[in-house]
């Protein structure tokens, strides 16, 4: 990971980090760093997750009751705080996903009207 790479990556849009975190956790519990890595990897290294923003976001989601957390041992034998999706979080994910899909479709239509035909 070098500074060069980071500059080329996209910055996350406001509000999308929460959605991506919820989406990542659908595969099971994960610690903060794992979530960040998963987002970066899944996006094909296109999205940059600023770690400093990640933890407050996790805390916010936990406060709302969408995710829950507990301390555990990570795969490489380190102490880490593991997050998992709650039932309310699952519902929120569905809601947010639907909203996001509609939004991105709408934006795509505006930006690229020809394709829609």
């Amino acid at each position: 990971m070098s500074t060069q790479d980071e500059k080329e990556r996209l910055e996350l849009l406001q509000g999308t980090l929460d959605l991506l975190i919820l989406r990542t956790l659908i595969f099971g519990q994960q610690h903060g760093q794992g979530i960040a890595r998963a987002i970066q990897d899944t996006s094909g290294q296109e999205l940059l997750v600023e770690h400093g923003a990640l933890y407050p976001a996790l805390q916010r989601l936990e406060d709302r009751g969408w995710i829950s957390a507990k301390w555990g041992i990570s795969s490489n034998n380190r102490k880490a705080r593991f997050y998992s999706l709650t039932a309310a979080g699952r519902k929120q994910l569905v809601r947010e996903t639907t909203k996001w899909k509609r939004l991105s479709a709408a934006i795509a239509r505006i930006l690229d009207p020809a394709r829609e035909g």
């Binding site: 610690h31 760093q33 400093g52 923003a53 805390q59 406060d63």
Partner: protein, 877 residues
Amino acid sequence: MFWRKRNKRSSADFSSEIEAHLQDETARLQEQGLAEAEARAAARRSFGNLLHAEERFYESHRWLWWDHIARDIRYAARMLAKTPGFTAVALLMLALGIGANTAIFSMVNALLLRTLPYPHAERLGVLYARTTGLETADEPRNVDGEQWEQLRDNVPSLLPAISSMRANGVNFRADGKVQYLHAGRVSAHYFDVFGVQPLLGRNFLEVEDRPHGPATAILSYALWRNTADPSVIGHTMLLKGEPYTIVGVLPENATTPLNADVCTPLQASPQGEGVGTNFRPFFRLRDGATWQQADAEMNRAWEHTQRIENFRKENPGSQRTFYSVPLQRGQTAVLRPQVLGLLLSSGVIFLIACANLAGLTLVRMSRRKAEFATRLALGASRWQTQRQLWTETLLLGLAGGITGIVTGSLALRGLLLLLPERFLPVSSLPLDARVLGFTVFLSLLTTVLCGILPAFATSDLDLRSSLATRSSGLSPGSLRLRQLLIAGEVALTVVLLAGAGLLVRTLIHLEALPPGFNPSGVLTAKASLDDVTYHDAAKFRTLLNESVANMRAIPGVQNAAMGLTLPYERAVLTGVTITEGKEAGRQITANEVYVTPGYFETLQIPLLEGRTFTDADGPSAPRVVIVNESFARSFFHGIDPIGHHQDGDTVVVGVVRDTVTSSAAGLHTGAAPLTKEEVIYLPAAQMDGAFLSLVHSFFQPSWIVRTAAPIEGLPAEMQQAVETVDPNLPFSGFYSMSDLMASTLAMQRIEVALLIAMAALALLLSAVGIFALVASLVAQRTREIGIRMALGSTVQAAMTQVGSAGVRAAGFGLAAGLVLCLGTLRLMRSLLYGVGVYDLPTILAVVAVLATVVLVAVVVPTLRIARIDPATTLREE
């Protein structure tokens, strides 16, 4: 709850999560081949702003405002601790100001606000009557025997009861031991009216309350506890020399207005004591009835009683209507104006304390102008600086409240020590939730009153000038404001001082009244003759003759005698018919006192005309009386009364000098507590048994001895003198004449003591205020004074210049206070005797006291000026 869940996670936990993340990331980068230091730096870099993340976590987790308040409180406490002098003076003033109010309010609370300890106390009432016509009055009333029978039988809306006027001292004999107790007499349903159920046994039955009914008694818990014998019911004890069967024991803490150790049935009838209004009525409104109904029934029932008929005959054109008044109001009617007056005075003290504190805070704030300006310049909002200010004042107010509760409860304890026993109609003055609430309210009020001025003074702070000039002086505007506050304090102090002065003058007047006899060298002893033995006039005469003779035989005793009542005490009121002269046939009321031969000689009451009683004025001798000057003046109109008849065939044989008596019996309404009234003296040997049994149930006669010098063990010898005649007759107490005067003037003494305490407190607080003003002026102008003195001014000139600010404020206050006195002192008129409302000596004394105190408060702080060294002050700059 939501916020609870939030609070569960600490910021340390959050930090450790981030630390775990960084370590993990570092390890990952090291695996990719980076050196450890490099890897760690990269991890940090990719994390972004660590501090910002932690801050965001922190802020999301707390109520920020709470944090800020906690910080403000910590800061305020630090600031107060930094100026211990200011804090100590402020707390002292609040302790006094709030303490005085807490103590007085406890009294108001206990007397006027707390519900009485009876079930459905709002349905309890006492009797009042409104008289209109020539004389108007609204007064509590007692009833006579006829009125009682009507009230009992013909007022269906009420459950009525009556009791004797008070619990009287009696001799109680059980197991061969004589005990002096307070016994009350009550009608059948007295305890039902107050909702008191006996712990053991039962209440009195109606059959026991009939005249000549069975002699039964109910014991108080305190009396029963001595034996705590549950089988006491049905036992017999000797009360007043007669056997009484115990039928009940009252529960612990059972209170009635009578507050007696033992109760017996009253057995009231329209005869005997029932001829006069000697019964205190109490009643409970029955379910479903209204007070209006009860009042109407009462007036209808009494319409044709002898008393009302007589009233109409004697007062044509006047109307008298009876009505019920709630028990609490009725019971505290006498004390209410005094208590409210005290509350007003303590309110004044509170205001003075607050004005002082506001002044002090003002100075404190002006010293901190630079601090506030700096804080504003560094970006604090006006709201933040104001909040800081208010927090400090609030902290001070609450601390003052706490110290106030402590001083208040101490003051209350002192107050209770001052009051005579059975003086208050309540058993305790508790510091309950209402009192504490009141104190908290005062603390908050202090905060507002003391905080508002400094808040205004700093709200228009000019940043530039405050930062630029180093001087931290009081602006001319706020100096005037402080002077105004002090003038206000002094004005209120003047009113309290003048009020206290008038009461002192009243007390001096009353205590210095020419007594009409020689009070020094006299010891008196009382005993209860409310005993069946002494319903026999012959036994009574034997007791008198022998006991008085025994007392005369005590070595060192010059003379001894016995009488029903003494000067300074209240006497029996009786009706006397004038037999001769143009007023023949007129029924008059006068004080009546039976005395043994030697009474006038022992008390040294001067004989003006005729003779005093001798042993020859016995039961079979012609009826004789001696009258006092006032009686002769009122009813003989300048004719020499000697040899004239009155009340049938009774002959007046002597006239003696007036002595002061208590006006408590109320011969003249509105009379001073100590006064001169019309008195008839009768020979004790000519009293009949019926009269003796009647008066002895109200009055305890006194034995009096005069000695040339104090005699060691005289009380024991007096007791011995009586015991050899009747071993079952204990004295209830020994008194000097000044003790008797003190108990008659108890109310006046308490008023004086309390108001003097209040006035002294006000004076002290005002002096502190003036002292603080002048001291702060001196501190502030040290440099200016230094320059002046360097230029040739003298110390005196500088002192005068600085001190004049305090003197002027006090002068204005004095003038304003005197004007205020014009309006307010009139309210005290009913408390004053022998002194006018506008009394020059009192005013002069107030001015002198105030001037002295102001002078001290001004001069002491200016003495520092003499120590100012011009050279040093100039160099300091």
